[in-house]
């Protein structure tokens, strides 16, 4: 766990903001010192990419290793990116943190696209460039973009017996997630400012699909079972992942994940739990190592007699399953036999296949049974 996170529970939003401003100022001061000393300005940046990605068994996280690279101003291959990283740092500090505002990666790109007055040359040609510079700044600061006040696309909804305090600049709202009707509360892009109050939940159930959220919400599942219901609406967005992590670690309650029975479902699960190779630098902030896979599993297909409502696996599914079987984070004997069973049966099943039994079967039988028997994959 990084320093930033150890502090995060006790820090106020103002303190979090000030800490980041100080860090950026320190980076600036160090560069000024280098200028004064006549050195070639540089920033130390952890190496990203597969050569520096490892799976930490103990922490259960896909993490960056300790390889570092130096980015120099006076190096033809580095100069442009160095300048862009400075543009990003300046925007984050002066435009965002100092004004207590947040922005998207796209806003930043537009704001810093052409910054040299009188020139027709763009300082940032494509958003891809500023996005990379943002990640450079994130890892150089040992932080993550939400702390830099940069928003990602939000996705996901929640309902349950939990009240959260959320603040939008100076306005604080107390939001009772048990009174959200059929819609639910939309999970925000940035969740650092959220506080948990009036906790009446005993576990979290994260469903991959909106349809499952709607089904369980209509059945009053979360009320009867004292759980917080959450949907990621597909691959989980950063806000939803971070919020799940915070609930798991701060409220210390179990979290269960419900996806379709197929390699894509496993991937959604493993990304929420361990992080991903592409975003290994974010696993510390976004991973939820205690998350468990509730289902749907390949053995559920036999157990719940769903054979008639399965989907034949395609070549691409088989290939993906074989790849995943080799990943260090799928090496437990439970996952190895799950993947082997899939490769043997070659069948996928959607959670909604349970509707072939009856609409409320999932709420009244499947979920209570799985949870009572603690029938999870690790």
């Amino acid at each position: 766990m990084t320093k930033t996170e150890n502090k995060s529970k006790t820090q106020t939003p103002e303190e979090k903001r000030e800490e980041m401003q100080t860090k950026i100022s320190q980076l600036g001061s160090e560069l000024v010192k280098e200028v004064d000393a006549g050195d070639n300005l540089h920033i130390d940046i952890p190496v990203r990419g597969s050569a520096n990605v490892l799976f930490d068994e103990k922490q259960k996280k896909i993490l960056l290793g300790d390889k570092m690279s130096k980015r120099y101003l006076f190096n033809v291959a580095h100069a442009r990116r160095f300048m862009q990283t400075m543009l990003v740092a300046s925007y984050v500090k002066k435009d965002l943190l100092e004004n207590n505002l947040t922005a998207t990666l796209r806003d930043l790109y537009y704001a810093k696209k052409r910054t040299i007055k009188g020139f027709k040359e763009d300082t940032i040609d494509e958003q891809k460039e500023s996005d990379l510079a943002i990640v450079d700044l994130e890892v150089a600061m040992d932080s993550f973009r939400e702390r830099l006040h940069l928003r990602a696309e939000p996705k996901g909804r929640m309902a349950g017996d939990l009240t959260v305090l959320d603040r939008v600049r100076n306005k604080v709202d107390s939001i009772d997630l048990s009174r959200m009707g059929s819609g639910g509360w939309a999970v925000p892009s940035i969740v650092e400012q959220i506080e948990f109050k009036d906790v009446g939940i005993e576990y979290v159930l994260v469903a991959e699909k909106n349809a499952i959220f709607d089904r369980l919400n209509e059945d009053g599942y979360w009320k009867k079972n004292k759980c917080l219901l959450m949907t990621t609406a597909g691959q989980a967005a950063r806000g939803a992942r971070r919020l799940l992590q915070r609930i798991s670690t701060e409220l210390k309650i179990p979290c269960y994940c419900l996806t379709d029975s197929d390699p894509y479902g496993w991937y959604i699960y493993s990304t929420m739990k361990y992080g991903s190779m592409a975003l290994a630098h974010e696993s510390n902030r976004l991973g939820c190592p205690d998350l468990k896979f509730l289902g749907m599993s390949t053995s559920d297909i036999e157990h719940y007699d769903l054979r008639n409502v399965t989907i034949k696996a395609k070549e691409v599914d088989i290939k993906r399953a074989e790849e995943m079987k080799a990943y260090a984070w799928f090496k437990s004997k439970e996952w190895q036999s799950e993947i082997n069973l899939f490769l043997e049966k070659k069948l996928k099943a959607e959670i909604q296949a349970l509707s072939s039994k009856s609409l409320q079967y999932i709420s009244n039988s499947y979920l209570p049974e799985k949870i009572k028997n603690q029938d999870f994959l690790p």
Copy 2:
């Protein structure tokens, strides 16, 4: 306006449900009469597809014409679909309406996929088939799928000084949309049951993008400007479209739409306003004829000096613009000159291009100015 809608304001959710059950029972009784008379069972179904789609200038809606077709049981080309329509009708009445439950199209498909006991033949092979049968039932009932208790994928968020009453079966929640923090309230799949209370809003601003919702929510735009802020997060989902229509007609307040300046933005707008050709049978229930296009317009690019942050239109954009120029619902002189200007300049602009001026420019200058000057496209 159809009978269903005229009644909708005064009908309770229970009455709406009973009305639909009665309609389905009537369809059944008529078929039984045909059986007794030894007739070839049939259902009258309005013809869909471009041959029966028209633009109603006065109502400002893309509608189905009055061409009808008959679907017979004893006709090799019709029999399977006839049977599937009956399966759908039975599921809707017995499983959904009678139990006051809702389901997705996928749930229905799984529930009715294999219904002949002992046979290995599916009654519904692919979901496409049951989806078509559902639309048949919708149009035959002169209704729409939400009244059949069928849910579509929900999308969209809201915030503003408006309290809605939403009910999930027998539980009624009072939801104050001015206390939704940074997330907002997630717009549900079905909004028929929603009632509006404590209306403190003077207009609705619908933004195509989540990023714009977040920007305006953070700036307290909806509070300062007494509006309801809504994002469709891309092409609007059915729930968001229907809710916008209900707010527009029931609260009688102006609704403004904010998209990128490109043919895709115009399409998102025109679908919300007029409906679409593919779903012409739904325009009555989902269209919002009083919606106005606030921006971003091609002339905004010059007016707000955004030339440096535009995107060059591609061949596909030009082609799309030319197609749209020919549509009856883009024939107003304002839209013709907007499209001509686009074809001349060949430039697209995103709303976020305004961030090149300053992050809060949209909240403090662009929107207030456009609204003050009533600078809209029809």
